[in-house]
Amino acid sequence: MSKVQEGLLYSESHEWVRVEGPNAFVGISDFAQEEMGDITYVDLPDLDNVLKGEEFGALESVKASSDLYSPVTGTVSERNTDLENAPELLNEDPYGSWIIRIHMSNPAELDELMDAEAYAKFIGQ
């Protein structure tokens, strides 16, 4: 059974968001990493504007690639470049491995994301 971490917000495309003031740290859920299998590559975005629901990067596993979608609108202000050399961190510690930090331009969008309880239901747990 996949872990769902309390205190985070979740999107239907299985990204999580940790809010720190105006910043949203974005990663992928345990459910997502289990579905993908061994992640071998992280395609990180440029430091640029990103819209809620827009593709901002991608993950590659052995068998497939899967796009990453931004849970909020804002500007990508930092990228976790540790993942470039160690993409497996997303498998080993999905909630400890953020992928990008977004400086949010519309924090009200956070209301549209799921809390841990709702996300657990969403993935059928």
Partner: protein, 367 residues
């Protein structure tokens, strides 16, 4: 969806082993049991096994069997000894591929076994029946009566000898087979496979297949899913029908012209193959290696530096055994020479690469 999918005779075992099951070629098949990398490495380093019971077994016999098989098959079976296996294709008259397959020449005169891709069984069987007019042959699709297990890897010989209790398996040469029985049913054991490693394929009844699968599990052979079957065959430079071969891709374009023998009197598609061998083709299958870890996937465009598209990726991975991002791609022939710089568009970015040999991994066949 699932009610239309066929199950192989090993379905219950896959589920009991906790495999991730997915549709493939009309069957519900195991994609992975643990994870693709571990299963891939088991085959490269020790021994793994695959349920390939979905493959098709079509038997041909009769006074005209040799002439008939030689008519529909690109490789030369005349003068080809009983107990041997030959790889080749069946072609449409325009040179497009009906299927790629193995032909087993049985010990009994005028008897052949043709092993075809699961996705193509019905199409191939109909094609073979249609071509049989005027030949005194019987064409018999026995696919549902047979199970098949591929045991692959450096320890395959030891495990197969041990589990079957047949020392003669060790004496079988590459692309040879022998006939035996398992609990009263016919069993065929060939030194063939689809991984680039030494290994065997064991054909027998569905009950026998279930027993042998369990014995192999008990002997410590790693069950492997279709996920790593694809990564293994890809590294070994082996084509997959539907990706590197199809009705629209000829064997010459796919770099498999050596399996089409022009010194034969005739075979379906020979004219086109002869012309393509003489005059060349407009497109060609190549290997491309890119410097980045990004993965070229099937369908991604292959471009020149100025953005002109010159081809398309057919299969690509970040290779497990080589730790490189590589792919097969069908490109314009003028771009196919080894060392040619080519660019692959992966999502929003373009990655530089170059043409390399298609056999990415040094195979370890026991010849």
């Amino acid at each position: 969806m699932e009610e239309n999918l066929q199950k192989t005779c090993l379905y219950d075992s896959h589920v009991a082993l906790g495999a991730r099951m997915s549709p493939f070629a009309g069957f519900i098949m195991p994609i992975q049991y643990s994870n693709i990398i571990a299963e891939h490495q088991a085959v490269r380093r020790q021994v793994g096994m695959f349920d390939v019971s979905h493959m098709g077994e079509i038997f041909v016999c009769g006074p005209d069997a040799e002439r008939y098989v030689n008519h529909i098959f690109t490789n030369e079976i005349r003068g080809f000894a009983p107990g041997k296996v030959l790889y080749g294709m069946m072609l449409y008259p325009d040179g497009g591929v009906v299927d790629d397959l193995l032909v087993y020449r049985e010990v009994e005169a005028d008897h052949f076994l043709l092993v075809v891709n699961a996705a193509n069984i019905a199409k191939d069987y109909q094609w073979m029946l249609d071509q049989a007019a005027g030949f005194d042959v019987q064409v018999d699709n026995q696919s549902e009566a047979w199970g098949q297990i591929a045991v692959q890897g450096p320890e395959a010989e030891k495990k197969v000898v041990e589990v079957l209790g047949e020392a003669r398996a060790a004496g079988v040469g590459f692309y040879e087979f022998y006939d035996s029985t398992w609990k009263g049913s016919r069993m065929i054991v060939s030194r063939t496979g689809y991984t680039g490693e030494d290994g065997f394929e064991i054909y027998t009844s569905v009950e026998g297949t279930q027993e042998i699968w369990q014995l192999l599990l008990d002997a410590g052979v790693t069950p492997c899913g279709l996920g790593c079957r694809d990564t293994l065959r890809f590294e070994a430079g082996l084509p997959l029908y539907g990706d590197e071969l199809s009705a629209e891709i000829t064997p010459v374009e796919a770099g498999l012209g050596l399996f089409c023998k022009l010194d034969k009197d005739e075979f379906i598609g020979k004219d086109v193959i002869a012309r393509q061998k003489a005059e060349g083709t407009r497109k060609k299958l190549v290997g491309i290696e890119i410097a980045d870890r990004a993965v070229p996937r099937a369908g991604y465009p292959v471009e020149l530096e100025d953005g002109t598209q010159v081809g398309v990726v057919t299969t690509g991975y970040h290779s497990i055994s080589l730790d490189k991002s590589i792919c097969f791609a069908l490109v314009k022939t003028e771009c196919a020479a080894l060392g040619t710089p080519l660019w692959i568009r992966i999502r929003s970015r373009v990655f530089p690469g170059q043409v390399v040999k298609k056999r990415f991994y040094q195979t370890n066949y026991k010849k």
